[in-house]
């Protein structure tokens, strides 16, 4: 009789292409042959996320928005993985993956419209800030409820697979599904992996393991060899990757996508290791549960943006002047869209009642009418000025 003790097994390795100093460690995947313009664009996308994050965090502090979540330290996972996707692929996000949106072509104007919930917001003023979504980019709108998107990603991938069986002319597509290591404790995660494995769904599950779920450190979140070991248990091809290594994340995702679509299709689990440099959100002060020094050390030690920058500088395709110019121009663009979006009207009041059902129900019509009468009776009690169309939209 032998009981297997997972502590006696070797931990799954962490895949890297470049080290913290920007030196190539996996020569077989040396990124040197990639065109410089492409790499610079990816780098700029990471910078965009990081600059926008700082501006929006401050904007919240100034009371100009109610909420924000930065993704500092995790830009490489989002941009790197998204750079390996096809525009047709479908994405389900958690909330710390603005890099996926930027990489897929969500414009700063679109981001700001969501953050300010103005009349151009795809979510029609329904959602809190950072809950992006875009049908054009095949990204489903983010839900605050953790992990619910994970089994949906299994089902969505099954749908894509079925559609190709019905019509082999549609291009092969995968579903990319993002979530945190905390969310991976939810039943939904386990159900998702199990059903994706049994139904051979082309889903790539990308777990951002940043060490924290609000205050809860990963040591209290799970035992065993991280989230990656879960994949093994469900019979899923799994890899652990260094989330600070842009090229490694990208190559892993390219390979994962390829494998997911091979033969009868199959799910893949990627565990991308990083560190949540920031507070959880603007509502959190993480120094209530972790030492400032720990964060400072992490920041100094490694970061996806600096790591790629070091590599680019070694290659001679980037320097201090280019960096300055890039930062200044991105900042300018962000601030321009910020100012424009903040000024715009809010979606019409009617939007409060829309999209509950495909058509507004008779009950909701009654409620709209009652609300209109209430506001007409007490015009001074309600400020309609921010809303496009004022009271008229309640017709």
């Amino acid at each position: 009789m032998k009981f297997q003790n997972p502590a006696e097994e070797a931990a799954m390795p962490t895949y890297r292409i470049i080290d913290a100093d920007g030196n190539v460690v996996d020569q077989s995947r040396d990124p040197s042959s990639t065109p410089a313009e492409e790499i610079i664009q990816w780098y700029r996308n990471m910078l965009t996320v990081s600059i926008m994050d700082l501006i929006m965090f401050d904007a919240q502090r100034q009371g100009r928005t109610s909420f924000y979540m930065v993704s500092a330290g995790e830009e490489g996972i989002a941009v790197g993985s998204a750079s390996a996707l096809s525009p047709d692929d479908v994405c389900f996000l958690q909330y710390r993956e603005q890099g996926v949106m930027v990489q897929r072509g969500f414009t700063l104007k679109e981001m700001m419209s969501q953050l300010f919930a103005n009349k151009d917001d795809n979510g029609k003023g329904h959602n809190m800030p950072v809950h992006y979504g875009s049908s054009k980019l095949n990204v489903h709108t983010i839900s605050s409820t953790l992990a619910t998107q994970i089994p949906q990603a299994s089902g969505a991938a099954y749908a894509l697979k079925m559609q190709r069986l019905i019509n082999p002319n549609v291009p092969p597509r995968i579903v990319a599904c993002y979530f945190g290591e905390g969310a991976a404790s939810e039943g939904d995660f386990h159900a998702a992996l199990n059903i994706a494995a049994t139904k051979s769904c082309p889903t790539v599950f990308i777990c951002r393991n940043n060490g924290f779920a609000i205050s809860t450190a990963s040591i209290e979140q799970y035992k065993g060899d991280g989230i990656a070991s879960r994949g093994m248990g469900y019979g899923i091809d799994t890899i652990r990757v260094d989330g600070n290594d842009f090229f490694a994340v990208r190559e892993v995702m390219l390979e994962a996508r390829k494998r997911a679509l091979e033969g009868d299709c199959r799910p893949i689990l990627v565990e991308a290791m990083s560190y949540r440099v920031s507070h959880h959100s603007t509502s959190d002060d993480s120094f209530a549960y972790r030492a400032k020094r720990e964060v400072e050390e992490w920041k100094r030690r490694d970061n996806p943006i600096t790591r790629l920058r070091k590599w680019m500088e070694k290659k001679g395709i980037w320097d201090e002047d280019k960096e300055k110019e890039a930062r200044a121009s991105i900042r300018k663009d962000v601030l321009r869209e910020f100012a424009a979006a903040e000024k715009l009207k809010k979606p019409p009041l009617r939007s409060l009642f829309e999209d509950v059902y495909e058509e507004i129900t008779p009950e909701a019509r009654t409620h709209m009418k009652e609300l209109k009468e209430l506001i007409e009776k007490y015009p001074n009690e309600y400020d309609l000025s921010p809303f496009e169309g004022g009271l008229k939209s309640l017709q």
Binding site: Q60, G63, R64, T65, S66, F67, A117, G123, K124, G125, H126, N127, M128, H131, S143, S144, T145, L146, A147, G182, A183, S185, E186, G187, D188, A213, I214, S215, T216, E220, Q221, Y222, S281, T282, S283, D284, D285, F287, A288, Y289, P347, L349, S351, L352, F353, V356, T361, E363, A364, H367, L371, L374, I375, K377, Y378, N380, E381, Y382, D383, P386
Partner: protein, 393 residues
């Protein structure tokens, strides 16, 4: 709108910050006369003086009382429960560092990680775990971080906690002693997933007790009873907007309040308003405005406290007297608690009714981020609700 002592160590402090300090997703009208922020320093719902608190709890003139807010009162209650009964356990997401609303602050330090601890992020796990603890004789207090996130635990609550005793029959097995606490309700910018009040989903389930306190002193008595005395599973919903906003004098010594009794908060003779939790403050303000406007009018206000099983007798007695009733709650109109209360009044006091029972609730839609002020009941809508029901007679 709410008190806003800035505490940078408070997670989700944002969710409780005043509308004047930062932009709420939907703006209050500056010209508003009725829809003014609730003045928590004046509202009669809270014990503004030491003697008011002593009188309410039948205490002597020198009984010690403390000025505390809702999260403070909950914290003291949890402290007392952990101290007096070693079978009490406390756990949930981020509970160890004090919880995102600070209700469990300091408790892990004092009572140790074996009794007060973080769980992995799994609500079905948290509630299932609590049921198991209770079934084996402990008194677990489980925290769900937001009521909006209780649904993964729905199966455990509806099929397990609620039916445990029934299933066990004469074995006597049960999961009494389990309390599931959760912050609920709107705060100004919580949108779809940080604003919900799902009590009606649980009041449909025999076997669960659903309690919503209106104030720190009520929370203390009700939560103490739920944890230490009650042998049925309790869902304890805490209106999170009140955590810091609602401050009052609270008796220092431990006490309990009944888990099946409504309370007449204000006496009246012409109209009964039935509510619970946060809207009671709005009801009180609306009544004040209405009684000023209509000379001689007197409105009775009832706090249900126990949302299920609920105290029909107190409500019926009041409506028999007044002949008119309005039910007010923040959660949706459709199949809400208001429907149950209105139907019961219709059954129990039909011949005495002088107007249809009215409901003032959120509409039958979701909690849209920038539309909160137009969605949830406010003083104006209750004002109008009252007028409608009065003029109809």
């Amino acid at each position: 709108m709410f008190s806003c002592r800035r505490n940078t160590r408070t997670v989700f402090s944002k969710l409780l910050r005043s509308t004047s300090q930062c932009r709420s997703a939907s703006q209050a009208s500056t010209a508003a006369r009725l829809n003014r922020p609730v003045d928590f320093k004046k509202t009669p719902i809270l014990h503004q003086t030491q003697n008011s608190a002593r009188a309410a709890f039948g205490l002597s003139q020198d009984a010690p009382v403390d000025w505390v807010n809702l999260h403070g009162a909950i914290n003291t209650t949890l402290h007392h429960a952990l101290k007096t009964d070693e079978s009490v356990l406390l756990f949930g997401e981020d509970v160890a560092f004090g919880g995102v609303f600070r209700c469990t602050k300091g408790l892990a330090d004092e009572f140790g990680a074996a009794r007060v601890f973080n769980t992995p992020l799994t609500e079905q796990g948290i509630v299932g775990f609590a049921i198991g603890c209770a079934a084996e004789g402990m008194r677990p207090v489980a925290e769900i971080q937001f009521a909006d996130y209780v649904y993964p635990a729905f199966d455990q609550l509806v099929n397990e906690a609620a039916k445990f005793r029934y299933r066990e029959g004469s074995t006597g097995g049960n999961c009494g002693g389990m309390v599931v606490r959760m912050p609920c309700g709107s705060v100004g910018h919580g949108a779809l997933y940080h604003s919900q009040s799902p009590e009606a989903l649980f009041t449909h389930i025999p076997g669960l007790r659903v309690i919503i306190p209106r104030s720190p002193s009520q929370a203390k008595g009700l939560l103490t009873a739920a944890i230490l005395n009650c042998n049925d599973p309790v869902i304890f919903m805490e209106p999170k907007i009140l955590y810091r906003a609602a401050e009052e004098f609270v008796p220092r010594d431990a006490y309990t309040l009944p888990l099946d009794k409504a309370e007449v908060v204000k006496k009246g003779k012409d109209l009964t308003i039935i509510s619970y939790g946060q809207p009671l403050y709005l009801c009180s303000a609306a009544i004040e405005a209405l009684e000023k406007e209509i000379k001689g009018l007197s409105v009775e206000l009832i706090d249900l406290r126990a949302i299920y099983p609920w105290d029909r007798a107190t409500v019926m007695e009041s409506v028999q007297k007044t002949g008119r009733a309005i039910v007010v709650h923040e959660s949706n109109y459709n199949a809400g608690v208001g429907a149950e209360v209105a139907a019961s009044i219709q059954e129990g006091a039909f011949l005495r009714l002088e107007a249809p029972v009215a409901r003032v609730t959120s509409w039958g839609t979701h909690h849209g981020f920038i539309f909160e002020k137009f969605h949830i009941p406010d003083i104006t809508s209750k004002h109008i609700g009252s007028s409608v029901s009065i003029t109809r007679c």
